[in-house]
Symmetry: C2
Subunit: 403 residues, 2 copies
């Protein structure tokens, strides 16, 4: 039976020991698609709960937005009874995910060998920063370090001074999340076909190089005739100021260029030798951008963007993040959903991007409070209320008081 | 039988009508994982073949790096016979992917309804820039437009002037690729369980907002008490100049901070009230960065990075893209593979990031030259050599002369 309120991964059970962002956003994608993701947290809660200012019951915007649709089991893995509980849980699971530093899962007693002895066909997933060996592998990973090593900081270097620059959002972490979610799903498909569960490994560093390569580094593809990636990179700084705000606009095809010239009332540039073909426009890029800058500065943005749209010139206002909430295209796409009724008041989340017409993804629950599902999860693997009380008395598990 | 040289998606057949990057990189991920991806190209070839300077036989670094492991079928879809051939191919496929502007697939005769009549349980995938309705939906999409609308340009805005900035790599395109590959794989898993094929839709705009949200926008989660994302964003500009090159370094935990102070010989800062806790260090961020900047400038990079590593301080050289090829960590991870023997000479590609221990992904073939597999693909769906010759004579298909 297909549950129309759950996604394509309904019926899949995930034991999730990951922390911060790379792992949690990966398992959130699986949870959004219907998987039952059990977030195993230490007493005191996963590290990300500690970052930022909580809105309520330890819930920050970032924790909420990395842990939707999951259940929280809070226990002390470093005790015999805690480890025992996690092993009983593993026996019922399809997927086990961890993003500890290499070697730490083994030391904790949840390395692949042990886990596979408990559940032979489990998909065991290891996400690391640098990989399992090499000079950096034992080091703690932060996003800037992967930006530095993967070339992302070089790509963003100041065009004039050449000084490298960081991207101000954690691209390596989040790209690893999406890549991991894809790989886990492929391993699930493979297990469905062959009954074999396997070990899936990802490093953030490897992920970023694979991700950046296709256009930002591919001039290094031909061994012996590598070109300088700096000269090959697309110049995407298409930021222009109108009278009232910044916009972006660009004209690549002939028809887009012609449309732009008509908008500016500069029809003479349509046949101008410097601009009349795509090749000529690339060659005279600086003059073209200068002309665009001058013309665009004469307009107010609404009028100009309307005219661009009429003439088929790709363009958009540059929105700040608050404005995104009210943009007509973003509204037309129903990107934001509002949830209410819980202790957090009204909560806004972007819906999962991919839309499945038979088994839609959904945000069924917000992120759990710490230990919210400790009782339920333990009961499902055979613990009685008395057993659970004993674990609580021994401070091996934690569950909220006023559940 | 599992073929150890193919990945988890072995046996899956994909008809791929996508162009440029968002679709092609998605289907390349499936191909790297073993799917048989048939790239259907018009006479003259897919648009991306036209961009950049080819190394040989129309092959550019970027085309190569977006179309590995695929087969090329070159035919004119706008003829009755061409459409007929694609329909015979669809009958044998598991997945159909297109990234035309909304409505164009229907006009071409390969909309969902028609495709599903031919193959009832096919997974039909539509990737768009803006979605299917709304003010921008009919407009051609370029990456900068999605950067502008999704808040990415705002995230990267100049910290001092507030002027928005573009990211100089096509994050929206490539993130959509990875997200699409995950969604397609989830739909495959679901079909395996339920025998139902469905329509999977993604817009680049939706993808970017879902991707950026977790940390870059999540302060907008609580309706009525939204905070300004500009103040909430992580300041990741951890770029420092040593005597000889730029590096990154950071100390978040107490032990990392203590290690850093020891490296600098500034042990007095360990107990300094301004820096002795994580909270104090956040509060005195500017002073701390200024101190780091001054201290780091006194060192040569090799000595300093060695010392940082000994003391457990996360750090790395900032590599330019050419240097990546020789970095010891990247070498230890065997990220780059070299292929030779074909008409392209030696070719370098990064291996697929996720590693599967039972069914490894692999780069079995480089990107196809235009029409390289026209014969094979048509023969597989029942065309005789004579049929194929007739199609060639009528200029409905194209195949290279010296195959």
């Amino acid at each position: 039976m297909i549950d129309q309120n759950r996604g394509p991964l309904q019926g899949v059970k995930v034991v999730d020991l990951t922390t911060i962002v790379s792992g949690p956003v990966a398992t959130m994608m699986l949870a959004d698609q219907g998987a039952d993701v059990i977030k195993v947290e230490p007493l005191g809660g996963e590290q990300l709960r500690q970052q930022g200012t909580p809105q309520s019951v330890g819930m920050t915007g970032i924790f909420l937005s990395c842990n939707r649709n999951k259940r929280s089991l809070c226990l002390d893995l470093k005790t015999k009874e805690g480890l025992d509980a996690i092993r009983r849980l593993i026996k019922t699971a399809d997927i086990f995910v961890q993003n500890f530093r290499p070697g730490a899962a083994d030391r904790l007693g949840v390395g692949e060998k042990v886990v596979r002895e408990i559940k032979n066909d489990i998909i065991y997933v290891s996400i690391s920063g640098f990989g399992e060996k090499g000079p950096y592998s034992g080091q703690r990973v932060y996003d800037p370090v992967i930006q530095a090593l993967s070339g992302l900081t070089d790509i963003q270097a100041d065009a004039e001074t050449g000084v490298p620059r960081m991207i101000r959002t954690i691209i390596p972490d989040k790209t690893t999340s999406v890549t991991a979610a894809q790989a886990i799903t492929a391993a699930l498909y493979f297990r469905e076909k062959t009954k074999k569960g396997q070990h899936v490994r990802l490093a953030m560093l490897d992920t970023m190089i694979a991700y950046l390569w296709p256009e930002a580094m591919s001039v290094l593809s031909f061994v012996g005739s590598e070109k300088d990636p700096k000269t090959g990179s697309l110049g995407l700084d298409l930021v222009f100021k109108t009278k009232d705000r910044y916009i972006t606009a660009g004209a690549i095809s002939d028809s887009e260029w012609q449309g732009m010239c008509r908008v500016f009332g500069r029809e003479e540039l349509i046949t101008d030798q410097r601009f009349c073909t795509a090749k000529a426009r690339t060659l005279h890029r600086q003059e073209r951008l200068q002309m665009m800058k001058e013309e665009i500065s004469k307009w107010d943005s609404t009028t100009l963007l309307d005219r661009f749209r009429q003439e088929g010139v790709p363009s958009a206002p540059i929105l700040d993040r608050k404005e995104i909430l009210d943009d007509p295209q973003i509204k037309a796409n129903n990107i934001f959903e509002i949830y209410e009724g819980g202790h957090l008041g009204k909560v806004r989340q972007p819906r999962p991007a991919a839309r499945f017409d038979i088994s839609p993804s959904s945000i069924r629950d917000l992120a759990p409070i710490l230990g919210q599902h400790t009782d339920d999860v333990l009961a499902e693997v055979g613990y009685s209320s008395e057993d659970i009380q004993v674990l609580e008395d021994k401070k091996i598990i934690w569950r909220p008081k006023n559940k």
